[in-house]
Amino acid sequence: MAAILLGISIGSQSIPFSSIWGTFIHTPTVPATDSQIIVSIRLPRVVLAFFIGAALAVAGVAFQGLLKNVLADPYTIGVSSGAAVGAVIVFFFHLYLPLLGRFTLPIVSIIFALVTLLFVLLFARLAERNMAMETIVLIGIIMNAFFGSLISLMVALSGEELRQVIGWLMGSVAMRGWSYVSLFFPFFLIGSIGLFVHIRELNAFSFGEQAAANIGVHVLQRKLFILLSASLLTGAAVAVSGTIGFVGLVTPHMTRLICGANHRRLLPLSFLYGGTFLVLADLVARTMIAPRELPIGVITSFIGAPLFAILLFKSLRRKT
């Protein structure tokens, strides 16, 4: 199912399919403008959407597993707020660092995200030696609240940058180009690998940290690794495309309803479903009121909520 969705998603770029195929095999009959659009605008957009969706989905899986709470999402521990604050600050102060050029925004955002993560972990460690997840969540709540207020402050005080800020906050993968993809890619790679090697540990953590310790998992170490990987994915995703909601929370649920809770299937399938979901959402976002674009965050909730409701009903009815 995932493979088919993938195929459809990349194929449905409302440019004749022949042109797409033609571009890929370098047919000379394809108009230059078309192939230009495909390669430098549409493809990076689709690829980025896929990566972001996949990253948020698996980060969501990891957090739900670690916290043993199906209401957790990648934004729970506050890294996303950190990234958002970084971005809003760039908008607010019209920051433009000559070395970074166009990448000022995403890079500042990522830096803020990493610093926030470090802060959360340090704070948690100081508060409690073995860093219980409950403590980390509480610190995340504090961060989200604090940074949220900072963002609101800047929004309230901003003038013409307001539209840009709000637009960014609602999330988008438009007009990013390959440069953003390559910026995101290393974080994406490291984070994803970091999570995929911990499939068994994630399974173990589902039964509780003590149960995991009893079967020989080095709890503190593995927890940190997983947290780091998931936060890396989240922070970089937010830095590059804004706060796109719903994907990280709901994709793991939907996947669980389909394939069960074993992370051996859950992780890779969430990866694929998250990616395709976001690609589809992006497609809707840019075609619904063409030529204007809707923010992708709106679409994810709009499509996602009823989709989830249908799946939930089906699974509940199956049980009874």
């Binding site: 090697v197 009893n214 079967i215 020989g216 669980r256």
Partner: protein, 483 residues
């Protein structure tokens, strides 16, 4: 082999364990007992490394417990906590597979045949093979606990730590599980709430109270009534298990009211002698129905004809009793060929209160000392049946002595009446199917002994002697009339 030395632990200011030391040997089934709050679970958490040591040392197979790496320790020690957290959406098999974690390399984990085999065996040994692909949330509490046990077994540990392992299980499951563990040969350290189960299965026990180790030893040594009263602050009585050489412990939560008047009375009946007591009496007897030790309120001596023969006399008698409206569980029943109108009574009422009823038919009298010369095989109901009722509290030894005393008195009565064993031609000591029941009200005066020179023994012997003589006379008279 686990060595615990001078371990103390406190939560903040509260001392939960104080200077606890003990050793668990390889292959032992070691139990930890104690009232709530005695520190049992804390001790177990220290052994499973859920809590770090504060004071004292613990050695597991010679190494200090904190020096083991997580995987190493998991291969050595597996823990089964009281409540198993389950995760929704996992099947039994998936849960058990996690037990193989310590054996898989971190970088390139492979699932080997050995892994598969161990998991399958573990699931089989807890009899969940038919449910191995069922999701955990659909299992009962007992089944979840068994699945968790299978996971622990899949770790192939040498030591199993169990916190109240049989909490959510029915009786049959409990014993199945414990038998499995006992046979596995693993070293097991388990916290028990049920003293009797601990006594049945454990090789040695540790008793904890208020965080201190009160005693450590075998169940027989440890489970004395005073020790249990001291540790659990409840009155207990200790018994012997009827089948296994292990002590059994029972509670005495309340005592029964004292009855003074009308403790026993005889009911008239054509073919039976029936004595009923106002409260249940504790009885030691050789009766056909209710023999051994039983509490009873009704005592029946049933007349049967001389040619009564039956394959299963006990069952037949039980049916008979039921037909006549007797509650079989509260009845001590004997048979005799003697006419019950020939019963003899004897009562004593000063110093000790007792009552004796005897029917004596001496047709098949036997001299026990020379019985080995006899040739008969089948017993026929002739018999001397003796019922003794005592208003008093008899110790177990006193019950046995009362039996002895009554029997000696009976033998003397036979001698004085010159009853002869027809086959050996010597003075008989009894008949081939005699029966005695000693019934005591277990209230009032305590009699530790009932031998022939004790106050109670003397009166008992006197009453039995006199009643037996009278009963023999009545029997002979009737026999004489019949001839």
């Amino acid at each position: 082999m686990i060595n615990v030395k001078h371990v103390s632990y406190q939560y903040g200011e509260k001392k939960v364990l104080e200077d606890v030391s003990f050793t668990v040997y390889e292959g032992e089934f070691f139990g930890i007992l104690g009232p709530n709050g005695s520190g049992k679970t804390t001790l177990m958490k220290l052994m499973s490394r859920e809590l770090p040591l504060q004071q004292g040392v613990m050695f597991v197979y010679g190494q200090p417990i904190e020096t083991y790496k997580p995987r190493q320790y998991a291969k050595l020690v597996a823990t089964l906590p009281q409540h198993t957290d389950i995760s929704f959406g996992y099947t039994v098999k998936e849960m058990v597979e996690l037990g193989r974690y310590p054996y898989q390399s971190s970088l390139l984990p492979r699932w080997t045949n050995e892994d598969e085999q161990t998991v399958t065996e573990a699931i089989h040994s807890v009899t969940l093979a038919h449910k191995q692909h069922v999701r955990l949330e659909q299992l009962s509490g007992g089944e979840r606990q068994r699945a968790a046990l299978a996971r622990s077994l899949a770790q192939q540990p040498r030591v199993l730590l169990l916190d109240e392992p049989t909490n959510h299980m029915d009786v049959a499951q409990q014993f199945k599980l414990l038998n499995l563990l006992k046979q596995s040969g693993l070293t097991v350290v388990a916290i028990f709430h049920d003293i009797n189960i601990a006594s049945l299965y454990c090789d040695r026990l540790l008793l904890l109270k208020d965080g201190k180790a009160v005693a450590c030893g075998t169940p027989r040594e440890l489970l004395s009534e005073s020790m249990i009263e001291c540790v659990f602050e409840t009155k207990m009585k200790r018994h012997e298990h009827p089948v296994l050489p292990k002590p059994l412990v029972t509670f005495v939560p309340f005592s029964t009211p004292h009855i003074d008047e009308g403790l026993w009375h005889v009911k008239e009946h054509e073919t039976m002698l029936v004595v009923e007591t106002a409260k249940p009496f504790k009885v030691l007897s050789s009766a056909l129905v209710g023999g051994g030790v039983r509490w009873a309120t009704t005592f029946v001596n049933r007349h049967v004809s001389l040619d009564y023969r039956c394959d299963d006399a006990e069952q037949e008698m039980i049916q008979f009793l039921k037909q006549h409206g007797f509650r079989e569980q509260w009845t001590v029943g004997m048979m005799t060929a003697v006419d019950v109108k020939d019963v003899a009574f004897s009562s004593i009422d000063e110093d000790v209160r007792l009552f004796v009823a005897v029917t004596a038919g001496v047709g098949n009298a036997v001299d026990s000392a020379n019985a080995w010369r006899r040739t008969d095989v089948v017993a026929s109901p002739g018999t001397i049946n003796t019922f003794v009722f005592i208003d008093g509290h008899l110790s177990e030894a006193a019950f046995v002595q009362a039996l002895i005393t009554a029997t000696e008195a009976k033998a003397k009565a036979l001698y004085d009446k010159q009853v002869v064993d027809p086959q050996t031609n010597t003075i008989a000591t009894g008949t081939s199917t005699d029966s005695v029941a000693i019934a005591a009200s277990q209230q009032g005066t305590c009699y530790a002994y009932a031998g022939t020179i004790t106050p109670i023994g003397k009166q008992l012997a006197r009453a039995v002697y006199e009643a037996t003589q009278t009963a023999i006379d009545s029997y002979r008279k009737r026999k004489g009339e019949q001839r």
